[in-house]
């Protein structure tokens, strides 16, 4: 799940870099309607993955 979250967040960050490189109507639309939902999804997945990791490790240790 961490890989999936990282992939989605990377895609979102690349869209952000595109916007910084060339601010235009096209990149702004991409940032708003593709990048932001991707960021939201990636952040939720990353939080879930970290939460699962934290819960699993003590059990593995015991």
């Amino acid at each position: 799940m961490i890989r999936l979250a990282a992939l989605i967040l990377l895609a979102a960050q690349l869209i952000l870099l595109l916007l910084v490189y060339e601010p235009s109507g096209r990149t702004a639309t991409l940032f708003t309607f593709v990048g932001t939902p991707l960021l939201g999804l990636g952040l939720i997945l990353l939080a879930l993955a970290a939460f699962r990791e934290r819960r699993r490790k003590p059990r593995d240790a015991g």
Binding site: I2, R3, A5, A6, L7, L9, L10, A12, Q13, L16, L17, L19, V20, P23, S24, G25, R26, A28, T29, F31, T32, F33, G35, T36, L39, G42, L43, L46, A47, A49, A50, E53, R54, K57
Partner: protein, 233 residues
Amino acid sequence: MNNEALGPLFVPPADVHWFWIAVLVPAVPAIALLLIALVRGRFPGGRLIGGGIAAATWLFSLFAYLLGAIHLTEEAKSVAFCGSCHETMPPIVESLSSDEESLAAIHYQRGAVSRSEPCYTCHSGYGIWGTVSAKQSGLGHMWRTLTRNYEFPLEHKGPFDIDSCQNCHAATKAFRDVEEHRDPELAQAMVDREIGCTGDCHPAAHPESALNGVAHASAPKAAEDAEDAEESE
């Protein structure tokens, strides 16, 4: 003739934006950490440090986007940004320099509005809520562009916010000296947004020919060019 050819006094001072560097500050480490997580399937470090790095990645990614949104908000004020919506806007932006009768062109050519942000100056409304409303409209524009849900000729939705005009004109002597501006009925109709300044007493904001998008604006020009070519033969 371009401004540079006229001399250095005709070139406006460069408006350099450095905010993009602030966007890169959290974006670059976020990308580096995400790449490591993608390749290794986990964040570097043990349970404690790895958890901290994951949290840092989470925050960096979010913070980069927040700064990116601020960067976009600033960049979206520029006339170049408005003109970048290729289907609809270039004829309107072009008419600011080439037209002689429309209100927007008169303001632009006389330097009455910002050279770099002329669209935003008049379309953002007045005060902080004007800015909020402009951003709200911008989102709507992007959505309609994305879904191609728009029609030509472009029309202003609802009455134009006369506060944008009043912000500069209300206190001027020239404005006060016009008898019509002091007419109580007319003033009330304007305050109630029943009528606006443009298109009623004053010229239309933009020439009609510029409101039909690139395809329609270039068609008559192409026809004119063909006619000119025929005549020259």
